[in-house]
Subunit: 263 residues, 4 copies
Amino acid sequence: MRATLVFPTREIVERYYVPLIYTACRTCYSELAPDDIFERAIDGRIPPAKQRELIGRVIESGHGSTIEHVVFTFAITGVSRTLSHQLVRHRAGVAFDQQSQRYVSYKKGASTMLPGTIAEADPELLARYEDQVEGALELYSELVDSGIPGEDARFVFPNATRTNLVMTANLRALIHMSGLRLCTMAQWEIRRLFQLIRHEVFAVSPFLGSFLAPKCVPLGYCDEAGNRDEHCPIRPHKDRVLEAWAEQAKRQSAQPPRADAPE
Amino acid sequence: MRATLVFPTREIVERYYVPLIYTACRTCYSELAPDDIFERAIDGRIPPAKQRELIGRVIESGHGSTIEHVVFTFAITGVSRTLSHQLVRHRAGVAFDQQSQRYVSYKKGASTMLPGTIAEADPELLARYEDQVEGALELYSELVDSGIPGEDARFVFPNATRTNLVMTANLRALIHMSGLRLCTMAQWEIRRLFQLIRHEVFAVSPFLGSFLAPKCVPLGYCDEAGNRDEHCPIRPHKDRVLEAWAEQAKRQSAQPPRADAPE
Amino acid sequence: MRATLVFPTREIVERYYVPLIYTACRTCYSELAPDDIFERAIDGRIPPAKQRELIGRVIESGHGSTIEHVVFTFAITGVSRTLSHQLVRHRAGVAFDQQSQRYVSYKKGASTMLPGTIAEADPELLARYEDQVEGALELYSELVDSGIPGEDARFVFPNATRTNLVMTANLRALIHMSGLRLCTMAQWEIRRLFQLIRHEVFAVSPFLGSFLAPKCVPLGYCDEAGNRDEHCPIRPHKDRVLEAWAEQAKRQSAQPPRADAPE
Amino acid sequence: MRATLVFPTREIVERYYVPLIYTACRTCYSELAPDDIFERAIDGRIPPAKQRELIGRVIESGHGSTIEHVVFTFAITGVSRTLSHQLVRHRAGVAFDQQSQRYVSYKKGASTMLPGTIAEADPELLARYEDQVEGALELYSELVDSGIPGEDARFVFPNATRTNLVMTANLRALIHMSGLRLCTMAQWEIRRLFQLIRHEVFAVSPFLGSFLAPKCVPLGYCDEAGNRDEHCPIRPHKDRVLEAWAEQAKRQSAQPPRADAPE
């Protein structure tokens, strides 16, 4: 699996992305024209630190449209069809183009993805898995050679078959998807993909990359029902946090009045 | 494969859907309140034929928001994962929930879809296809029995594996999807699904069902590049139609002036 | 201002909406076909209380697609253009058709909305406001009578001018919009609209209506930065809640070991 | 009114945008990894003319996802609220942030837009329009000075009041919006805006700018019902074009068999 940020470059992010988001934020609250704001942001009259500070506050506040103005395009290579079927369910702020099993003829053969649990299983079971998957790829070729259209021959391909995608997401979508997919309860392959994606965004902008985090980080708690009792260490569970507040409130209201309290 | 319209019933469509769309259309152009328009539509003061006539014109004009107010929910059973991966790419005006290969344990075994071209192929090839696919389902069960998590064992499942979905689409999305998927150049399985869907909508409303057609029908021509020369008989190709108009225009401008033409 | 739920009726909601959502939820985790699940839900073999219980958990878990399958259509009458400009910014899961100031000729005259703060202001100021607004409506008529197209004459209409809309939203969108617009910090007119909308949904389904609440209710805390210090009484502020948890954690880790603690 | 393309620059478009779209197109049909395709596109191993040729065909074919990967951000200044209310109705592939009349205090005064038909009307009518509009802006200031919140005082602002927006659209959305808004039947102000937008895109890429055209251009005919008889000269009306084809088909089928025709 590979995820490469093909656009924007570090230079483009550094020069334009923070000013663009800043301009979107400021336009809502300003009498100034947005192109004037942008000019002031890009030539440094508005200090970059001040721009980042406003952006940080706006993202925290959930004013999401402001971070829909900048996009990131990834070349995603060698993920399973299991992953891609899940990935393309994301709809808002994201665009996909995917290698088509209908139109690509796989003359060099398709390749497949091996889950870690099977790789480390009993060697005989692993061998059977590999035989099964290789048998599928071979049969695909024979079907095509016998005149079966590729769009039908592909019915034998396993979920493990690797595919490629181009994915473009705006920053809002990227934060939303990362919130779900970086969670320790996410499926391992898609979680790994978003770790690569976060790494790529960090490489061009530590500031923007810092917003790609499991959803518990901005929330301050984990809201996964399945995680209620045996939670991961990133954040405490929502139930625990709300209980702590309820107890504190109870304790404070139960406190005897202080001696110097006004009547 | 099965596609069942689970909502709305014929009674609900007949009583409410045409008045709802009519109300959306009229509200744009009327000083009347929309609840008044709706009351007049539903109690027949505005004759149903007049409502349908306006709706027909508005759909033809491409004023699409008016037909986003009514939805249709389908139970889709036994389609391949090849189909579902393509189907869920539709984003606007449509909602999906799909049987999860991660969470369903397939204790009764998964079932699979056989393409017609393979069913009618050389019997030996067909037997090999069936062995391969059955082998995959058996190995899945063994992997799970050996303690491999279902989310990893499913990597052996072929594209042919059947899945179920609940799909809700508003009328605009349904017309758009049908336009693409009822085309004779669409992949056979998804085309069959939309034939079933069209049949279901017709059964509750021949009027609304009549708008579910290959996109060439409202366009008046086929705009598929791959269909330029050897087209299907539903509509002539765009290039032919525009050529006919160009020739007519040329002929008319080349006509000698009529004897009685004013100078 | 008026907001009337024109679809569905109470009977339709009661009979179909809970089974539809239940079917969407169950399909993801079941080997059963979705039409079978729906039949069992609708004929009561799956007890309604059990259906509601699953739905409640799924909504709480944030698995939002399951509640995109049911929609609510409102006739909204007599809101200001200020409100409508804001309302139509909602994009996901919602459809709008609005009375057009370009095409409606306002022969009976347009009407306007008076903000409470101006109604209760100094009577002279109120009189000036009313003169100004009436002057705008009169000038509109004169402009149209003088042959200015309605699409240009409307430039004099004030924001206060009332407009009508038909709005259809799926349950997910309705919960999302209510989360923002029922907040005590929302603008008063749009908040009032969503109070009417909530009332209408409650009237046909107290169960589904119960999910329409300010976003602080499901979150357990208020996340409005502007509300940090002087918050409304619905929920405590996020900062207070997280501080309570941090203090509890500190206290617990600082506790001396109990006498009977294992070494 | 002003529309300035603030991102991307000409250099960024030239270097990256065509390769990005080409990569999205090719990935669907290729065994190559998308980052390899992108490298070959960007370093010229795939000649730019060949890239543009594929992109042209893909856009013509309606395979729209491929052109969702590149975006254009515009600073839009001084448009009326009439325009902005219409503009923000676009939902797919577009992001807006707009100057808020709730939060901006208009200390320097708001400014307004004058429609051409009123500018050229009877001078007395024009004077009345200007008085009315100026009166509204003055009253706004007085209301605010009297302590009325800005969010209520703005109810007197006319539709003519100017506003600013930041709009980002992907190429697909931009082509779609231009198709509607560049039509000669579109409202004059929004049409002028899209003429400015087209001009800006042309300035950075004549190739991509060439796709911004009234929808009749790619269709080959005008499909506006209101334009059936007295159409604009850009393209003939759909009815005329389909009639020409029908007549040609009739003429050809009515031709007497040629002497050398096979029986």
